[in-house]
Symmetry: D3
Subunit: 318 residues, 6 copies
């Protein structure tokens, strides 16, 4: 008589992704393909944001998805994906929280280097922390960034510290990455001060505006970026700022604007990125579920994650 | 580094209420004071309703409540409350679903007669099914109903079967209860056809309109109703239709109207009802979380449940 | 097989109120108790308003009401109520529209003087036009105003013509009424310039703030106002500005504020007004359905109309 | 003075479509080109849905459309379209409602076989019932389905009966149609379990994912599907599940997702379908007006109907 | 300690655009490139509209934009843009307001003929008034109109005066422009009566539907229109009715529909128009901020203005 | 022709309150009665909050209020009120922001001790900082707190630092105030852990639950609290957490609940507090404009400020 989740033969996404207790020692880590980690930090955002609610919101929303991608005829269930829950955060000490994020990535790379880390933000400040954690674990690696974003994220850290407007500059100025190893795709419109574009040029950052990316096709642009990066770097880190979406498609990203990317373009882009073995980590950031309309952006966030995993599956099986 | 629910000394409501697996045989049922059962049925509603989402929405919402009532200085944690999950429902066979609800109450009363059943609807059609389940388990008991509602729920079953407009008539016409053993408090306005009022009069139903109840005080009216019922019945079943609330307080009840009850009046009423040992079962119905504004009605639903449990605690400890 | 409105024995409000074609000559006007007229004008509002949508919105909403008032045990169906539709309005010539409103009331009073006119605005500018129409038809009558409003509506017509901030001043300065024959009940807070209050004092307008009205009870205050007016005037015109409601109860009135009237107080007030035979016309204004939340204000508007009609019924049958 | 609908020379959609009383015997049925029938059933939906409100919502919304298509320079008014109102539905007996839908189509085909039936759902469960009604009237015809949908609708009926997840399977398993005579266009993403895709393959169902359909153009894909179907079937039934739309374009379809169809693609598709004389019936389903944003989806539903009728006009006049 | 706007080196849009007091005599008008004028009139709209709020809403929203266009690598700050505030409007005398708008444009052209006037509506009725003001100042000029709109705006003025459905007809019938000098791009769907299309044909108006414009590319269509107009006219006036946008992109335009323009298409179109020296004035109309969702349409309005100014900059510097 | 703010005789609130530049040396500080300071900090909130937007939102909203209180016939314009703008805040260093808040209050008290400071939060963490600033300026004063709140705000600072759940404990544990000098009025329901109530009892904090406060009348309870505090303390600091409001009245306070205070009760309470000369500072906190419905809570916040100032005026003139 009682309706309870029962073991179904064919799982929904939340039945396929395993939720692990932190201290669970029975995990056969060598078999884990991908680990998800929530990073519920958004008090480091310039404008008020509830991006901290995104890990929870995405976990709720993916109950409505199945791990089979009809567009590519790809069944994701052979992938072993575990969800480690959220990195612990502090209410009033942002520096403490940032360090915990770096530590989490460092711990992942040190203890479980064979699994692909996929972080669910949180705001964009976490990307600097995650990449630093990677660098700390792999000090000799050269790291490249493939960024989908409306913004450069090159604001000065002197003004307001490591906020969500600064991660790329943070990584460059800390010597974690080189400017020339950053590709930003999807920037557009009137949302980046000219001085930031000049900083980008000086630093050698590569970028393709939305208009140009659409003319050439997102898939082709991603290919070019990866080809270029692979010539120089060991690891490509993919970071998706959901505000790269057009406001019609991503109303729930705090800084979303007209003239942005469509969701099908975004899904194509991350699927392409997922296929490339040089891509070794990823995050999805700056999605505020409280601002969402009809749950469109949260669903787009989940779809982005699953599209990337489709590519990830294909890199192993194509 | 990982943020996971850890054993906290002082629980939130969701840490205090235990969630039981259906077949769990380790429950010491003799120690269980209250069992919660979700009844996610609303396809039996006259108008489109997502009241089926209420059990889930309330479980999510009570994570924001603590089991301590400051108004009455009552700590609920000594109460042993278990949540059995949802009664299984069918998508296209409403009669099947209705039978499952009756069966669930019957099973509860047969196997665990010492625990107080508290059902979370679902629409008001479930009340008829739950009371029938009680009657089946206790055929010799005379059952009275204390109903808080904007409506009589006395529509004819001939028109459209056991919909949410019919539960009281259903119970009377099936011989489960007598009309004179029904007290309806909080009716008001232009939402009951005159013929239903005439039916109520013929059936001997007692009712106090919102206007009169407010003039005399909800607490006093509830006392009078219970006093009257106790003279005749063995068991009082309390049913709270959330549309008894004024639309300013309960925008998320599908048929909510202006001129209704305020939440503080409702909480006073159910606390009073909870204190009376003749009250032996309860339900909360007709709350549609999809229609809610600022989560006001879902929170009011949880508050109603906890206020009733405050009274329930006091009946044992005063 | 086809579901169409069929003749039901017990009508909903829209089945009880008859909708008349304009030129219908078969109406037995001597039997008509009340005529409804929509006045879909709100381009005369100081702030942007869709109050012009209210007649349509109320007609849709009252399909959810029955013509039986449970609080007073009053069946409204013996009242003969007809809905004449909307007064024709012009898109860009507000003076033309205002004249049409005056003409409509004049025509009603001239041709069908035995029926009670109840206008559904539109914004408050229409009250001046309707009362002028009455005065034109009954030039010897002394007319008093019973106004439920957050505002005095005494702004100067020199600034911006006969807008919704001016009807009472318009009536006084045009000699249609005397200031001493105005009672305003429910004003409150920081929403009337001091100079308007001084104008009110100079003009002899009587007013009772919300705070004081609540202390004494709306019913008693209405009685006092009517008693006072009846000593002097032949006709009392009742005008209900829905922004008299507290913003929690009337979010859909453009200028609604905190600290206002509750709906049960408003219903009590208009029921009391309806009982008095000196009350000979009424309007309900300044409700913007596009701004409404959960349809609370539109429902409150319908409830206000039906509560007044309850009183109207009782004036004939008590 | 009174503003009432007057006979205008150039009609709006609601003035062009005639609303017929059920028993009207004066209809010259031989001249009727298209009949609309509302099917207000959504209690058969897996998730809570108010798709039952769609017939009413579309009738209200099309008052804002004119029957002239500027994109194709097509005046629809020569088409004789009548609206028969809604098929009667039962509140608690879904099987009864389903039978009434089959009966309605059967009656249409038997009594008025020269008119094109266009049904406005309701949820997708109605498609199975409507096609069965057709089959009953034309037992010798071979029927093909052209489905625009995010989903296969191939769930097992054993689990939960003929819900909105099952219509295509229902038709195949009941022998009403053959799997090979189904074309589904617009499926995408992570919303169909792999087992359903495998069922589709086994049954010989043809499908084109959204990604592929966009690459080739919706018009071309529709042509190919029709060409293929026409080789085998007598009648093509077009069913449009509004959740085929991207969530940015169709927020008011309960299961709408990112990555879906754009409205201009949908309008192109149904215009193409309307042109083909093999297309002999159509429905539009799974649109929940209560979930809509800015009325975008309801307007898209009306536009879909009128675009189809544009094609229907052109099939006769090209 | 106090946070106040301080002189920043790199301005936001609101720091770049200068806000001038009306009587400021220190303006070096010969250096002013562009003047903005708000026209807060929407009581002349057929349907209730708060387009009067748009000038204020856009001024608030552009605080979130910077005057650097990344897509074109154009820094707008060399342009000298001043905001003159709003044209004074009357609450109840629409003719007075319309005259004030004509006077404002006439005054601009007479006193400051070297500056480009860019008006922020208000509803579309203002376009007729602005163009008449231009004509009055330049009686010998032949003026062409480049209109982006879902509608022809050719309704008869006899019905309801110079409402927002009439500006193009108003200009033609008043002899201000010739029909053949009007290009309307982006019309679509079922939103223009056939008689208006016939009027357009008789008057020689040129138009390209949305479907055809998309097939050929907005940029190419704009070029063709300008090329054609330049052969005949002295001045091209650009008017952007925001309801040309698809409802998914422009939910905040009162008459917005499915099947319309995407924002990137609109930005491309106005950038192209801005480049042409024959374009000498512009307005943006029919945007209702109260109806907006996620501020998408207001942001699109600002982006439209800035995209046009990008083209305007390029006409001087390419 | 241009509509610009002109010098009006009778001011709105924003014309009465003067906005001062930080370094303005021409202020005659001895004549300033009240200074407003915005404190846009909410990244110290336990849950995501945009309370940082409140100072801006309130400044926008009070343009709709006039400085005349009709309920009390009090003209506020004789009061000299200046708005100093916002205390500077840091994006990622909360401790820095907290110190700036303390410094701001210290500077106010040191340089302009004759003016009454009224702070507009921000979240409740700022109260601890403001009171510490006062204490630093007046080390010998004994300070009492009159708190209107749903919560005790007594959480341990060890867990997460000086968040919005801790200000009262912060002040007690830092020795700034004594527990016995705190009166909390309006607490209710299930929103305070029992351990916090026990801490309150141990610390000697006085509190009156909402239920009891309503029974006795807010005015009387405030009087009693002030009478008690005045016996011991030199200065009473009033802090209003907007979540003390019932969720029907204050949907825009992040932690608002059913069963809370009504706005008229709140306005009565703060008017009473304003009258008492021992009350020397005030703040309004925890209002999130992004969560608001129909602007009800922001308007209530402004009304709270003006009601307090009404009392403040009366303390000088009664
Ligand atoms: Ca960004
Ligand atoms: Ca970013
Ligand atoms: Ca009920
Ligand atoms: Ca009810
Ligand atoms: Ca008024
Ligand atoms: Ca008013
Ligand atoms: Ca579907
Ligand atoms: Ca389907
Ligand atoms: Ca237009
Ligand atoms: Ca238009
Ligand atoms: Ca607090
Ligand atoms: Ca609080």
């Amino acid at each position: 008589v009682w309706q309870k989740e029962t073991g179904v033969r064919e799982p929904k996404v939340h039945e396929w992704i395993r939720s692990l207790s932190p201290g669970a020692d029975h995990v056969e880590w060598q078999n884990v393909d991908v680990t998800l980690l929530g990073v519920p930090l958004s008090r480091s955002s310039i404008s008020a944001s509830a991006a901290s609610e995104t890990p929870h919101a995405m976990r709720q929303a993916w109950k409505g998805f199945v791990p089979y991608n009809l567009d590519y005829d790809v069944d994701l269930t052979p992938l072993n994906v575990v969800d480690l829950g959220d990195v612990k955060q502090h209410v009033t000490d942002i520096a403490w929280s940032h360090k915990a994020i770096t530590d989490a990535m460092y711990a992942m790379r040190t203890h479980h280097p064979n699994t692909f880390p996929l972080a669910l933000g949180g705001d964009h400040s976490i990307t600097a922390m995650l990449v630093k954690g990677w660098k700390k674990a792999h000090p000799d690696e050269r790291i490249g960034i493939l960024q989908l974003d409306t913004h450069f994220d090159l604001r000065s850290l002197k003004d307001n510290g490591p906020s969500n407007g600064t991660p790329i500059r943070n990584l460059i100025e800390s010597g974690t990455i080189k400017g020339e190893d950053v590709w930003n795709i999807g920037l557009h419109g009137f949302f980046n001060a000219k001085s930031l574009k000049e900083y980008a040029d000086r630093a050698g950052i590569r970028y393709v505006t939305m208009r140009r990316a659409r003319q050439r096709g997102l898939d082709a642009v991603i290919q070019e970026a990866l080809l270029d990066l692979k010539r120089r770097v060991d690891t490509v880190y993919v970071t998706v700022d959901m505000d790269v979406l057009d406001i019609a498609y991503g109303p729930g990203a705090p800084a979303t604007t007209p003239g942005g990317m469509q969701t099908d373009e975004l899904f194509t882009a991350v699927t392409a990125a997922g296929r490339d073995p040089h891509v070794k980590a990823m995050d999805i950031v700056c999605l505020d579920p409280h601002k969402d309309v009809a749950q469109a952006t949260v669903k787009a966030g989940v779809h982005t994650m699953l599209s990337f995993l489709t590519g990830f599956y294909l890199r192993q099986h194509d």
